[in-house]
């Protein structure tokens, strides 16, 4: 096109034009999966300051660099003790196939970390295959069952999700099979909507009472997490702590979803990078940093991302989209099938559609059978090990014998935006834009 001298509009680019054409043809907003695709300031914009003379590095592969983490020991008598600080985020049976859920449980258990249910209840497969299982407690309460609540190793009260803070979930009819519908008490094949607010409490004062009820039902044994979509993480983290949370989970705007309006995914919430310092500041001011643990999710892909999140103050991270890719999502070997769906490996985001060639975001028995839960679990375990080893490599280089000893002073930023958001200096300077002017 360029050779013809044609000029593409930066404002009305081809994706925008296609969006307008699609809206005009259908009259309904676009619903898709994945997370935000726009470029935002990111962990990629941070670098570590490895040790040399002023600080000493640890010997790689020889000197110990621990990775374990205890989650939820503030009020619960049975906190989780995980071997690595990388956990699997909540993804529902319904959004994912039973095989995919089983594979996540297998992979997480193999390396000693936790996996999480989603909107729609707990399946026996995932409970059976998950050594540490976090049970999500959501506004819809689909499949919510006190027996499962007591079987859970932790309870995660979900207020919001990074992909859609303030919005409810949805699951389209293609995926509401008999089993999914049965678990959610819904008619088969309908387009399911989920509420955006919990049905029996609103606000932190009532949440405190709700947490009290969940603790009474579980006899104060089970840790209680509160998950928020990052929009005002300073206030929301503080309020979660005041309401009695053992663990706060902050999901940045790049966090994934199975089905959400595209306008929501791309335009609501703040980047993960900007959310962490705000949440940490709230915890520090309340005197509970490291006592109420912080789990961060939304765009964790590499061991460097893990280490950067932890250096900024997270106790652990959670992965969703990356775990699905590890299982086989967007695999080039299904290129022809992606093409038939109007997509391509690396671009496929129609998780709402139920026709996932990789057999992960589907309820179609034939497609789902493509994912072997044992092999999938092995791939996930491999990936989790790599994330951990990568994070350890960086931590050792920074002279740390435990990942938790990474700190913001180990980081510098490459861009002014990342420097301001992460509150670490621009590389080669001592300048943090906005510092000293009151961060909040």
């Amino acid at each position: 096109m360029a050779a013809l001298g044609l000029r593409e509009s930066a404002t009305f680019d081809r994706a925008t034009i296609a969006d307008i054409q699609r809206a005009a043809a259908t009259g309904v907003y676009d619903i898709r999966g994945w997370g935000a695709k726009r470029r935002v300031p990111h962990f990629d914009d941070l670098l570590f300051l490895g040790a040399s003379m002023s600080r000493y590095p640890l010997e790689g592969y020889r000197e110990k660099c621990d990775t374990d983490v205890v989650l939820g020991d503030r009020h619960a008598s049975k906190p989780l003790h995980l071997q690595i600080p990388v956990t699997i985020a909540g993804m529902s049976f319904g959004a994912l196939s039973a095989n995919a859920k089983e594979a996540l449980g297998r992979g997480a258990s193999e390396v000693g970390t936790s996996t999480t249910t989603g909107d729609g209840g707990m399946t026996p497969e995932e409970r059976g295959q998950s050594r540490h299982l976090v049970y999500q407690y959501l506004p819809s309460r689909y499949g919510m069952n006190p027996d499962d609540l007591r079987k859970a190793d932790a309870i995660e009260i979900v207020l919001g999700q990074g992909a859609k803070p303030g919005g409810g979930g949805m699951l389209l009819g293609q995926k509401i099979t008999e089993r999914v519908a049965g678990m959610r008490t819904l008619p088969v094949g309908i387009d399911q909507r989920s509420a955006s607010r919990h049905p029996d409490w609103t606000g932190p004062d009532d949440l405190e009472i709700k947490i009290g009820e969940l603790r009474e039902i579980t006899d104060w044994k089970t840790p209680i997490y509160v998950k928020i979509g990052a929009s005002r993480p300073y206030y929301d983290t503080a309020l979660a702590v005041k309401a009695g949370a053992d663990v706060v989970v902050v999901d940045g705007m790049q966090g994934g979803t199975a089905a959400t309006q595209q306008v929501f995914i791309e335009n609501v919430g703040i980047p993960t990078l900007a959310a962490i310092p705000q949440a940490v500041q709230a915890l520090q001011e309340l005197g509970v940093h490291r006592k109420v643990q912080l789990i961060v999710s939304g765009c964790i892909r590499t061991g460097a991302d893990v280490a950067k999140a932890m250096a900024l103050g997270a106790d652990a991270v959670a992965i969703g989209t990356a775990a699905l890719i590890a299982l086989g999502d967007n695999d080039p070997r299904y290129a022809a099938e992606y093409a038939a769906l109007g997509s391509a490996p690396g671009f496929y985001d129609d998780f709402q559609d139920g026709r996932d060639p990789a057999g992960i975001t589907t309820q179609d028995p034939e497609l789902a059978s493509r994912l072997d839960p044992i092999a999938g679990g092995r791939r996930l375990a491999n990936y989790l090990r790599v994330l951990t080893m990568e994070a350890q490599t960086i931590a050792r280089a920074c002279g740390k014998s435990h990942l938790h000893n990474l700190e913001p002073e180990d980081l510098v930023a490459l861009t002014i935006e990342a420097s301001a958001m992460a509150r670490v200096p621009l590389a080669g300077t001592s300048w943090i834009p906005g510092a000293g002017q009151g961060t909040l």
Binding site: T202, G203, P204, D205, I209, R232, Y235, K242
Partner: protein, 302 residues
Amino acid sequence: MCGIAALQLRNPSLHPRMGSLLSSMLCQIVDRGPDSAGLAVYDTPGLVSDGTSTVSLLGKHHGMEIDGILTSLNDMLSPDARSTVKIIGDTTLISAAVPTALLVKAVGETLPASTIIGRGEHVAVMKGVGHPMDIAAHHGLESMAGSQGLSHTRMATESAVTASGSHPFSVADDLCLVHNGSFSNHATVRRNLEREGVVFDSDNDTEVGARYIASRLQQGDTLEEALINLGKVLDGFYTLVVTTADSMAVVRDPIACKPAILAETEDYVAMASEYRALAALPGIERARIFEPEPGKVYTWSL
């Protein structure tokens, strides 16, 4: 995000027990807001008296000795005004036998750095940061008599945990407002009021509600009309209690998520965030207990 307890005593024989009853109610709503608290009491002997105006100031230190304050007030108001200064807990009460607006002006000029948290001929307002029961004890609520009382415990959402951010907000003579919930367009309403010349003391969303009502009352609205108009302008979630010299009003937003429960007998009207705050009131077993309907304004007069 907060707890509210309010009490209007219709039977004068209960007036001596106002403070102890309000204190027992407050005790049950502490969990809803452990950050800070505020109290408003009406017609409490020793704090306010007929024929005089009283201004409540946040804190007890204002950079000037009491004698200096009195000298300044006497100069401005004349000694006939019989100005007095009292320290109650962390609150300073200044009274004088002059119209309230005049006293507010004189106090403002005498102590320009102070924050006025209450004004009128009937009300005294007290606020503090910390455990609500400590604040109540510090001010001696238990032994206060009175015709009405309003208490609030706060879990700050987006504004600072400071005494000046505590409720009630009292921004016009004998008017107090407390709020549970959060307004979602308060910044816009604040800007509009500021354009009309209204001055704010805090960054709190509730103060916007209080200033809005004061502005409507000044324009001639009844209390009920002012609350109906508030519902048209302020968006979000709220349970509000408003008190004036002789009345009390309760309103919830049309979605009505934030709790409110009322108990009414021949002797009193009581409002609280939760029933447990009402449980110890006298004759509660015979009270009419009900939750306010969404969007409906309820008013009671002494």
